[in-house]
């Protein structure tokens, strides 16, 4: 009997918004013991409706202990404490990587599907990812992803790799921030406008209301800002949509 088969029917608790995304996309309802409270927030995750079917946790192993999960799903780089604690409590810790490349996204899909005991469940997502990469436009347009306060995508980040798949080349900006002067003097061909928490007041949102930003001579595409937090598999749908809009 393969080792993975032993895990079929295992229940998994995810402690992080980004690990929730993989779990909610790949697991069956009865396999999910808990997801983080962030995934249940419509402002944070497009998966909030299905996330609300499950008990919420606040990112601590203590929150999920009484649910007796077999596996706890966490992000790597969050310190060793959670992993050690899980092991001591006889819960198997499974870590996925914070996505720095598109290959990380594929690797995370495989890891979570394997933890669920059924590696083939990752395949439809891996196929979609491969397909979107194959169909990547040959030419790209000069673009800036824009969020509150001029925050943009750092050069070389996974965000810029996703954006390229939509035919948009994120311009490298000093400090990872778009300035009013740049928007006035050298506006990009396309502004990809993140709608993340756009209805809530913050000085970042006030910046987006500056007359220079509003009058920037760029084509404007809006994007659902929520998948951009984790840059995980939910990006596939968003990039397909942006690619169509950017044509």
């Amino acid at each position: 009997m393969p080792a993975s088969a032993l895990l079929i029917g295992a229940s998994i608790a995810s402690l992080n918004l980004c690990t929730d995304e993989y779990l909610l996309l790949l697991a069956r309802r009865d396999e999910i013991a808990s997801v983080s409270f962030l995934s249940q927030d419509p402002e944070e995750s497009p998966l909030w409706r299905i996330a609300r079917r499950h008990p919420a946790n606040r990112g601590s192993i203590e929150d999920v202990l009484t649910l007796r999960p077999d596996i706890v799903l966490t992000m790597s780089g969050g310190g060793r404490a959670t992993r050690l604690l899980a092991q001591r409590l006889r819960i198997r810790p499974v870590e996925i990587r914070s996505a720095a490349t598109l290959e990380d996204v594929a690797s995370n899909l495989r890891t979570v599907a394997a933890a669920l005991g059924e590696p083939k469940r990752a395949q439809p997502w891996l196929d979609r990812l491969a397909q979107i990469q194959r169909a990547s436009p040959a030419t790209t347009k000069d673009a800036m992803w824009l969020s509150g306060g001029g925050a943009t995508l750092a050069a070389g980040s996974v965000g810029t790799q996703w954006l390229r798949l939509a035919g948009l080349e994120q311009r490298a900006l000093p400090g990872g921030r778009a300035s009013l002067e740049t928007l006035l003097v050298r506006p990009p061909a396309v502004l990809v406008w993140s709608q993340y928490r756009s209805a809530q007041v913050s000085s970042g949102m006030r910046w987006l209301d500056h007359p220079i930003v509003r009058a920037a001579k760029s084509r404007r595409l809006t994007t659902d800002g929520r998948p951009w937090t984790c840059m995980g598999p939910l990006m596939i749908g968003e990039i397909e949509r942006l690619r169509g809009a950017a044509r």
Binding site: V201, G204, M205, P211
Partner: protein, 321 residues
């Protein structure tokens, strides 16, 4: 006095010009390639920042001098009386909890906050209290208002709001627009103009409250007018730029040396020194590494703290000698 005023004005104009043209490279390039765009850059992006820095400095210097004259205390400045923190609290309530977007309405919230802080100070310490009482009451109000501002930002619907507390409590002129500058500077300018008309009353109050009263300036009324006008001026500026510390203390202190101790006559020099300090501090923060924003209040506080300590030590020596 006149010569000093001319020198101060010349220094301020020079600093404002520098503030407007630095960094100069993009302006020179646009002058060659697209002069119209260069004009837009100056008028829409650089000018509001320069005007706000100078205007806010004028407000801090002048209201500091007026409050010091009214409280007969060299430590009574907008920050130490808690009015700047009160204004920030008012503006935060308006913007983040009532969803006010209009800058003028926000300025009204700021002015209300500053006014309530000053009213609280008068209630706690009285108008002619000793330095220690005034200082303690002011610090208590400033700390409470600062903590309430941070708490309300932490609980605001947007998780990004909490990061804004830095800007509200330490001030910033970055990326403000012309309508925002107008919303801060028009009410502040009117309030400062009216404050100037109270200069003689403040001079007379320094000679004694009965002297002022016998010459037609009831101290109570003058006090209320100074509080209300300072609250409007400080509140309007804080609602757009956040609170900036110590300028309201340093400006009047230096100005009194020029005016020979006449508090009313110190209003204009204090305003000019305040403007020089804030424009200078905002020039300094331009040298921050790319992509990093350093609130201008950090520079003024770093410069102002030693002076504050020196003032307190000096007063202590006077008391014990």
């Amino acid at each position: 006095m006149t010569r000093t005023a001319v020198l101060l004005i010349a220094a301020l104009v020079l600093l404002m010009m520098l503030h407007l043209v630095m960094p100069v490279a993009p302006l020179l390039e646009l002058q060659r390639t697209d002069p119209d765009l260069g004009t837009l850059l100056v008028t829409q992006i650089r000018l509001p920042r320069t005007l706000l820095a100078a205007g806010y400095g004028v407000v801090l210097g002048m209201t500091g001098a007026a409050l010091q004259a009214m409280f007969a205390n060299p430590l009574a400045s907008p920050d130490i009386t808690g009015s700047s923190s009160g204004a920030a609290l008012g503006a935060v309530i308006g913007a983040y909890w009532f969803g006010i977007v209009d800058p003028l309405a926000l300025a009204a919230f700021g002015a209300t906050g500053a006014g309530l802080a000053l009213a609280g100070l008068l209630l706690l310490a009285g108008r002619r209290s000793d330095t220690a009482t005034l200082l303690l009451a002011g610090v208590a109000i400033a700390l409470a208002a600062g903590a309430a501002t941070s708490l309300l930002l932490a609980l605001a619907p947007s998780p990004f709001a909490f990061y804004d507390s830095f800007e509200w409590l330490m001030g910033s002129f970055v990326d403000r627009s012309l309508p925002q500058a107008a919303a801060a500077l028009i009410p502040a300018g009117l309030a400062c103009g009216l404050l100037l008309t109270r200069a003689r009353a403040l001079d007379l109050m320094a000679l004694g409250e009965d002297v002022a009263a016998s010459l037609g300036y009831p101290p109570r009324r003058v006090g209320l007018e100074v509080v209300a006008l300072s609250a409007i001026a400080v509140g309007a500026c804080v609602s757009v730029c956040g609170a900036i510390g110590f300028v309201g203390l340093i400006g009047p202190y230096a100005a009194r040396r020029i005016s020979g101790g006449h508090p009313g006559q110190a209003l204009v020099p204090a305003a000019l020194i305040g403007a020089i300090l804030v424009v200078g501090a905002d020039l300094a923060v331009r040298f921050a590494p790319a992509g990093r924003i350093i609130p201008v209040g950090i520079v003024t506080t770093v410069v102002g703290t030693p002076l504050f300590i020196w003032l307190v030590v000096g007063m202590r020596r006077k008391l014990t000698s």
